[in-house]
């Protein structure tokens, strides 16, 4: 029987926590959320020697105060779930700042182990460490690791087991806060000791937290007697220290750390400017910063669309083949509801979404590269000025960029924003970033109505309209229902590093998986539903005798086989159109007609719009059914001909505009509900965007009609 132990990984953001987590657990991972909040909780397992180790990845934090959600979660996990061993992962090249968290972990009194990660970078920077001495000074074991080369993982696991078996927790009182504060800690501890029956270790930590006026700890322990003691001590202390107690406490912690580092760390070379600094001189330069940023964004989109196009065609062909292969199971000409469901409903619906997978994966790959290399933090910095003007945070820019791929991972990416108001505004406007699924709509419409030279500018115009509307909406939301002071920009810029292939592919896959899950669940479900409402109720008595007409064509020996087939297809399509008009979807389209009339739309477009709610790209397939051109995709010339016959270019533009702005797809609504933790915001998003789309499209159409 293996011994089961739980370990937790703590550490600063950018210290390489994720890489070490992957090194330890390999593929045995589970990603979920911490209860009640949308902070990601990663768990994994590893069998090592006689132990089954459960690894919990805590959110990256700089400290353990009660001010941010991440810090509270990390702290509560340590206190409530008492992991057997805690590994604090440290960016060795930035030792003092990283040890600030370690000192607080030692004070909490958890069995601690320090992983000095990226020790190669630190050595290259010219630092030399006396690990034994440092370990003694901090009274915790230290293991050196190089996460991206998977070095030191076994040593780390051995140390975990040694720490677990040893059960000797570090001395929590390693920081000396000076006589005055120490006296206050003792006095508060003794009250806690009597009143709350805490151990001396616990009382020591709670006393420090009370002096720091920690909200959560106050709520838990503060009673009248304690409050009077703490208040008295705080005011005397502040008089004596001439600075806030929090600052004094933080200074002593940093003092202890720099004392230890002076004894155990030597810097061999004095280098004022690292390579990272040199890159930053250019990349964040006030003149060059924005052009470089725009250039990189252009590259990202070029990669996404140019490299993605052939892959997309292959997938498209693959699904076409699959559809035909499945059709082949039935005798030609036979009518089967199951065949129709499989081929038209499921393969057509889900396949239509999956063909965008290459584009979306390429976009996520490029974003993962920019994130892992450290450039994304600079991009947020460069964009902050602009984003600030519309009342958003520089970091909001990353979700908006992902939004060009798919709104679902984009809305999940808003998690990096600390402030709820910023997060909500970003979530509300993300669907205005024209996602990959809307591209086939434009790809169908633009060539149908506009001459070749206008193709690229037209597409560009649509994207720009989306961006402008996002800016205006953000500004509007920020100055009305989501008013409030904007959160000041404060962000660490991690040093530039070469991303590892494994790292960027893992990141790409994590986001890509969300998109695939959307295809596998929501879109699959809706494809079936859409198939049902476009198929039923079935029409028994048609206005024309289609079967007879087909038979006549087949009998006609004057026609070539090609001509025969063409005529039969036309007749079958006419029949399909009549059937659709009779179906639930067709009827809804008719009911919607008066509402969508001012935008220049008829019931056919209305019916296709219903499909767009399930997934934007279904619009094209739906329109194909309505116009009974049989199999329709974005390249369908016969569908374009039909569109040209029935609509003006102005209506074509109105269709694109409405598709761009109107209600986001089902998957987006669902993820917004989950991330905002309320139906209210999800419904607000649907209603707000749809009303905006109706107003703008109506104005554009009506004004356009005047010319």
């Amino acid at each position: 029987m293996k011994k089961k132990i739980t370990i937790a990984l703590a550490g600063n953001p950018n210290a390489g926590k994720t890489t070490l987590f992957n090194n330890i657990t390999g593929a045995r991972q589970h990603v979920g959320n911490y209860p009640g909040v949308t902070v990601e909780r990663k768990e994994g397992f590893r069998d090592y020697k006689d132990y089954e180790i459960r690894v919990v990845d805590l959110p990256g934090t700089y400290s353990l105060t009660a001010y941010s959600q991440e810090e509270v979660i990390a702290r509560n996990f340590l206190i409530d779930e008492t992991p057997d061993v805690v590994i604090d992962i440290i960016d060795t090249s930035n030792l003092e700042r990283n040890l600030y968290l370690s000192v607080q972990l030692i004070e909490i009194g958890v069995p601690l182990l320090l992983a000095f990660n990226m020790s190669d970078v630190a050595k290259a920077k010219g630092y030399q460490f006396d690990m034994k001495k440092l370990s003694n000074l901090l009274s915790v074991p230290i293991v050196e690791t190089i996460g991206h080369k998977n070095k030191g993982t076994f040593e780390l696991l051995d140390a975990v087991i040694a720490t677990y078996e040893d059960m000797k927790a570090a001395n929590p009182a390693i920081v000396r806060y000076g006589n005055d504060i120490e006296e206050a800690i003792r006095e508060i501890s003794s009250v806690l000791y009597e009143e709350h029956r805490l151990t001396s270790k616990q009382a020591h930590w709670v006393a420090i937290k009370l002096l720091e006026s920690d909200r959560d700890i106050e709520k838990q322990f503060m009673d009248e007697k304690l409050a009077s003691v703490v208040n008295r001590l705080t005011s005397t202390l502040e008089m004596k220290l001439e600075e806030p107690i929090q600052t004094a406490i933080a200074s002593h912690r940093y003092g202890m750390i720099s004392g230890a580092c002076t004894q155990a760390v030597r810097s061999t070379i004095e280098r004022r400017h690292s390579v990272s600094d040199a890159i930053d001189m250019v990349a964040t330069n006030r003149f060059l910063g924005i052009p470089i940023f725009l250039g990189l964004m252009y590259l990202v989109f070029w990669l996404t669309f140019t490299v993605g196009a052939p892959l997309m065609d292959w997938l498209d062909a693959g699904f076409g083949w699959l559809g035909e292969f499945v059709s082949g199971w039935w005798a030609p000409g036979s009518e089967s509801a199951l065949k129709s469901l499989l081929v038209d409903g499921i393969i057509g619906g889900v396949g239509g979404v999956l063909i965008f997978l290459p584009n979306i994966l390429l976009l996520f790959l490029a974003i993962a590269f920019l994130e892992d290399s450290g450039y994304m933090a600079r991009a947020a910095f460069i964009m902050d000025r602009l984003m600030h003007k519309i009342g958003l945070h520089g970091k909001s820019f990353i979700p908006m960029l992902i939004g060009f791929g798919c709104s679902v991972p984009a809305i999940m990416a808003t998690r990096t924003l600390d402030n709820r108001r910023d997060r909500l505004v970003t979530m509300m406007v993300v669907p205005l970033m024209s996602c990959g699924a809307r591209l086939p709509i434009y790809a169908l419409i633009i060539p149908a109505f506009f001459p070749q030279v206008w193709h690229a500018p037209m597409l560009w115009l649509i994207y720009v309209i989306g961006i402008l509307l996002a800016i205006i909406s953000a500004k509007l939301l920020r100055s009305t229902i989501l008013k409030g002071e904007s959160v000041p920009f404060l962000m660490e810029l991690p040093p530039y590093r070469m991303p590892t292939i494994k790292g960027i592919f893992t990141h790409m896959w994590e986001r890509g998986w969300l998109y695939l899950k959307k295809a596998g669940t929501i879109i699959l479900g809706f494809s079936i539903l859409m198939w049902v409402i476009t198929t039923y109720p079935q029409k028994k008595d048609f206005d024309r005798d289609y079967d007879n007409e087909i038979a006549t064509v087949e009998m006609d020996e004057q026609l070539t086989p090609e001509e025969q087939q063409e005529q039969i297809a036309t007749i079958e399509n006419a029949q399909a159109s009549e059937a659709l008009s009779h179906s639930v979807a067709g009827r809804i389209g008719h009911v919607l007609e008066p509402i969508i009339k001012p935008m220049g739309f008829d019931w056919r477009i209305g019916t296709a719009m219903i499909g767009a709610f399930a997934a934007k790209e279904l619009f094209v397939a739906q329109l194909g059914i309505v116009y009974s051109v049989g199999e329709a995709d974005k390249d369908s010339e016969s569908l374009r001909d039909k569109l040209r016959e029935n609509y003006t270019p102005l209506i074509g533009f109105a269709i694109m505009l409405f598709s761009l702005i109107s209600m986001p797809c089902m998957a987006t609504v669902a993820v917004t509900k989950r991330e905002a933790n309320s139906w209210k915001w999800a419904l607000f998003q649907v209603a707000g965007l749809t009303i905006m789309a109706w107003l703008i499209t109506t104005i554009v159409y009506q004004v356009g009609m005047l010319f």
Partner: protein, 85 residues
């Protein structure tokens, strides 16, 4: 305007970080602002006595500074709240 520092400095006056120019290295005197912001800045190393070198100071946009071996980007508003000398 910013509030005065809690304690009187022995050596002349202090000024906000936002007044600094690229290339300068200064020492933090004190940090103003709400508890939350202050605690975050302190955890990142902005404590009295800490050396801060200014990597890039844009006119209106955010600042990049180096504190305790890490590069931090901070908005204009925040750089007003850090008093240095």
């Amino acid at each position: 305007m910013w509030k005065r520092c809690h304690h009187n400095h022995a050596f002349g006056c202090t000024y906000p970080l936002s007044f600094c120019k690229t290339g300068q290295t200064v020492k933090v005197q004190c940090v103003h602002g709400g508890e939350e912001m202050k605690s975050r800045l302190e955890a990142m190393g902005f404590l009295p006595g800490a050396d801060v070198s200014i990597i890039s100071a844009h006119h209106h946009g955010p600042f990049i500074v180096k504190v305790k071996d890490s590069q931090i980007a901070l908005g204009r508003g925040m750089s007003h709240k850090i008093q240095v000398a």
